[in-house]
């Protein structure tokens, strides 16, 4: 039975087999990020969305410069543009001209273009900061719940349920109602913005938290976590070095999808009058004022409406594209 072992092709050292089979033009040093970028670049829709997002961010950042070049200060009244009898803007299309690109507001005659540009600052600022708050809390809680499991998971998961059941809008209105003019060393608009960021960010973290928890649950079972443990790595090391890098993709994707939700929420709060105080320009506030003039000055409503719509759409398109690019399961 024990025949001598004569193996013809085996007289070489153990060699890695793959050098020969690589062939082709494939660059084997490419990181996953680079591959994702290649795929994203092919996605025209996502790239358009991304470009618009970048444009809006630049607009928000350079608002004073843009307005000084193309318009009038956002809170400056231009009574000469208003028909004194009707209170509506004079001239065609709600006063649109080279001087006032999007026309002027009824009654006050404020320049709509500059108010949209300044409104972008508030929307983007609150959208980004609130998302940041949600992501930081959500990632932290989610990764801890998913990794440790047991009673920690049960506790955090119930906490998430409670937060999700919270009547956020009512709470926001009540809180803003009882707010003093100055608190925590902040006052007026700075305080208002801080409160909005806190409310929106602090109550939205369970959405991210649940996703991160789920991802962590499946990552935790992977063998590389066991391998790391058998090397003697601490829990903290595993969380930071093994799990977190794998969570970057979902965090990025859900952040881009959460920002537009938060922008909408801020707009809704401003619309209801519990957002940033007038006369500071916000998209939601402008919409709410425009409601009374929807027939006489439709451009007043259209401008902030379109601004919100396009920004939110752009974020969502970009986020979807990002998810597809980062997810190895989708085939391009």
């Amino acid at each position: 039975m024990t025949a001598p072992l004569d193996v013809p092709g085996a007289a070489e050292e153990a060699q890695p087999e793959a050098v020969a089979q690589t062939g082709g033009t494939r660059d084997r040093g490419r990181s996953l990020g680079q591959i994702a970028w290649m795929r994203l670049r092919k996605d025209k829709v996502a790239m358009t969305g991304g470009a618009f997002v970048v444009l809006m961010a630049l607009v928000a950042l350079f608002a004073p410069l843009i307005v000084s070049l193309l318009g009038h200060p956002p809170n400056q009244w231009n009574r000469e543009m208003i028909d004194p009898a009707l209170g509506t803007p004079m001239g065609p299309m709600g006063g649109m001209s080279g001087e006032h690109l999007f026309g002027v507001e009824p009654v006050t005659g404020r320049d709509i273009f500059s108010r949209i540009v300044y409104g972008a600052r508030i929307s983007m600022l609150i959208g980004f900061l609130a998302t940041l708050v949600s992501v930081v809390i959500g990632t932290f809680m989610g990764i801890i719940a998913g990794y440790f499991g047991g009673w920690v998971d049960a506790l955090i998961s119930r906490l998430m349920d409670i937060f999700l059941a919270f009547p956020l809008l009512l709470f926001a209105m009540a809180l803003v109602g009882v707010l003093p003019d100055a608190a925590f060393g902040l006052q007026d608009n700075a305080l208002r913005i801080a409160i909005l960021v806190f409310i929106i960010g602090f109550f939205n973290w369970p959405y991210i938290g649940r996703i991160i928890r789920g991802q962590t649950l499946s990552l935790r079972e992977r063998e590389f976590v066991e391998a790391s443990r058998s090397l003697g790595a601490s829990n903290f090391y595993i969380l930071r070095k093994e799990l977190l890098p794998n969570l970057v993709a979902p965090i990025l994707v859900y952040s881009t999808l959460l920002i537009p939700t938060n922008i909408l929420f801020e707009a809704a709060l401003s619309f209801l009058g519990v957002g940033v105080e007038p006369p500071t320009a916000t998209w939601g506030g402008m919409l709410s004022e425009a409601v009374d003039y929807y027939d006489s000055a439709p451009n007043f409503m259209l401008a902030p409406g379109l601004a919100i719509f396009l920004t939110v759409l752009a974020f969502n398109l970009f986020g979807d594209g990002l998810r597809d690019a980062l997810d190895p399961r989708t085939q391009s």
Binding site: L5, G9, E13, Q15, L231, S234, N246
Partner: protein, 609 residues
């Protein structure tokens, strides 16, 4: 001979990828005669699965581009309409898929799924007829009490039974050809043998043709008449299975055959040979001194082999070398180890105890390799995780170098982790996809307190070269490497701390045969160079024999047999070991037939008893 039932000519299949079109199948032609059995063998990426999907017309509506002619029972697939192709599937050619766990719908009973398969093609058949047929079919594939089990859901079936049910589904419409794509890959050896026996019976009883696709030459050996060997989309060799396996012509077939681990080759033979080859081929990076040492070792080993065979001839059984060793203190000693899991189930979700590892004891000496074989669920992985203390045993003791480590807390365990390392089964999930391989390998040094980044990099690169990769691979991510290369990386990670004991948990079961052989050689070489002690866990009997000095056979959490490797394989004491050995696929078709008869005999005995 009659007309072939399947005829493929100049089949070419390409897929689009980010890097342009790749060719999966590159103009192959073959025929399957009526009632004949053809095996398609190749490693992953050879195009065998793309071919079998093409036979079923399953590339329709995908990105794949298929050219060439496929004729199945007189119908040309290239010109057939979608309706004709649907009618052909199941009626003329039925396919059984690889994964019995995911190929059955979990929400329908087995019976429903069988009946559906029948009624799609025979809409005029009455429900009672279809049901009767389903029971017959289940009975045919050896499901006991078929009339009752037909109402079971897939989760109530074991893996082997599900695969049987899938075959039964394939048989519902009396197909002329049965196409089996890697149907035994997910199954244990004993179950695999049963399924292959079943296919053989069906073929002779029903006169079906069989196309058996597999990466494993030994699986194909006993079940087909003709074999096609595929490599990179081409058929490189074809012919009668006995001829191809006994005197292969193409170098690829030769190397494939050479790489298949053989259950009849002992550890000593293999090691002596590997060492001899190493000294001959004068490996780079090895000092003259090391070479001399190796040569001496090889010579000693060769002498030992001769000694042993001489002893066997004279009937002597004494092992002087072993008795000297066992006087020393064992490196690792496992005593009465048990691992209990709570299993929920039954009424009110009451938890019951389940012992994954039950009262296991053994000693392991420095430089030795202990093989642990067993089928899935035998507790071998649990045992290896207990030894690395990834799991804490419920009771019993684990003593490493005279120190009881059974209940050491994690912080006291950390320095000990240097000495006991583990190589994991799946090189795809054991490497973090978002961490460069340099960081993955260096992690061990970092968590053990080394903070000099240059030093870490130097050590990692040195080791990378030692395991057959390049130092320049340091900053690459795992996805840039093949399965075999990844397993080399995983090995480097386990060795970076210079452990004394390495537990290899199925280190080659996810790899192709030729890669498997290279990784096993590497492990052998490293054992010599770093003076390692291995625990080698695997389900493949042949692999375990070739690497182990002693072998423990596990079943249902217990070690049923523990002895010298040669004794276990040549004079097995326990019935279960004998059963396992009879089920192991063998390369020689004649031998395979003998084993099949032997299995039939064993079954008859057990049913009679």
């Amino acid at each position: 001979m009659t007309d072939p039932v399947v005829s493929v000519s100049d089949l070419r299949i390409t897929f689009p990828t980010l890097e342009g079109r790749i060719t999966a199948v590159n103009g192959i032609s073959f025929d399957v005669p009526a009632g004949g059995a053809v095996g398609i063998v190749g490693e992953s990426g050879s195009g065998k699965s793309a071919t079998s999907l093409a036979l079923m017309g399953l590339h329709r509506g995908t990105n794949a581009e298929v050219t060439g002619d496929i004729t199945v029972v007189g119908k040309n697939l290239a010109t057939a309409t979608d309706g004709q192709v649907r009618n052909m599937r199941g009626n003329d050619i039925a396919m059984v898929f690889q994964d019995p766990m995911s190929s059955l719908h979990p929400q329908y009973t087995i019976g429903n799924q069988l009946i559906e398969a029948y009624k799609v093609h025979r809409p005029e058949a009455s429900s009672a007829d279809a049901r009767k047929r389903a029971v017959e079919s289940l009975d045919r594939v050896g499901i006991p009490n078929a009339a009752k089990r037909i109402n079971s859901y897939p989760h109530e079936f074991s893996g082997g039974m599900r695969q049987r049910a899938l075959i039964a589904m394939g048989l519902m419409c009396d197909p002329t050809v049965l196409l089996a794509d890697e149907i035994t890959t997910a199954l244990d050896v004993t179950v695999q043998a049963q399924i292959l026996d079943l296919l053989d019976d069906l073929r002779s009883d029903l006169g079906m043709s069989l196309i058996l696709v597999s990466h494993d030459l030994a699986v194909v050996a006993g079940s087909v008449d003709e074999v096609l060997v595929m490599q990179n989309g081409d058929i490189v060799e074809r012919g009668d299975v006995r001829r191809v396996l006994s005197s292969p012509e193409h170098p690829y077939t030769k190397s494939l055959l050479a790489a298949v681990p053989r259950v009849d080759v002992s550890r000593a033979q293999r090691r002596a040979q590997v060492r001899a080859e190493r000294t001959q081929s004068a490996p780079r990076g090895l000092s003259a001194q090391a070479k001399k040492a190796l040569k001496a070792k090889a010579a000693r080993q060769a002498a030992a082999v001769e000694d042993e065979s001489a002893q066997q001839r004279t009937g002597a059984t004494a092992k002087p070398e072993k008795s000297a060793e066992s006087a020393e203190q064992p490196l690792l000693s496992v005593r009465n180890a048990r691992m209990r899991f709570k299993v929920r189930g039954g009424l009110l979700g009451r938890a019951s105890d389940f012992y994954a590892v039950d009262d296991v004891s053994f000693d392991l000496h420095q430089g030795e390799t202990l093989g642990i074989v067993g089928e899935s669920g035998s507790g071998k992985s649990t045992l290896s995780r207990m030894i690395t203390r990834l799991l804490t045993p419920t009771s019993g003791q684990i003593v490493f170098e005279g120190r009881d480590i059974t209940r050491l807390p994690e912080y006291k365990l950390r320095p000990l982790r240097r000495d006991i390392q583990m190589i994991f089964q799946n090189p795809y999930s054991s490497l973090n996809p978002r961490v460069t391989i340099g960081d993955s390998i260096g992690a061990g040094l970092r968590v053990q307190g080394e903070s000099n980044t240059k030093e870490i990099q130097r050590k990692v690169q040195e080791l990378l070269e030692r395991v057959g990769l390049e130092a320049s691979h340091y900053n690459r991510f795992p996805h840039a490497f093949s399965g075999g290369q990844r397993q080399r990386i995983a090995i480097a990670r386990a060795l970076i701390l210079r452990p004394k004991l390495v537990i290899c948990d199925e280190p080659v079961s996810a790899l192709d045969v030729s890669t498997q052989d290279q990784v096993l050689r590497l492990l052998d070489e490293l054992q010599d160079d770093f003076d390692l002690t291995y625990i080698f866990v695997a389900h493949d009997l042949a692999v375990v024999r070739q690497v182990s000095d002693r072998v423990a056979v596990m079943r249902k959490g217990e070690v049923v047999e523990l002895n010298d490797s040669d004794t276990v394989y040549e004079a097995p004491q326990h019935d279960y070991t004998r059963e396992l050995l009879a089920a192991a696929p063998v390369l020689d078709p004649v031998e395979a037939k003998k084993h099949r008869a032997q299995r039939a005999e064993l079954r008859r005995q057990s049913t009679a008893a």
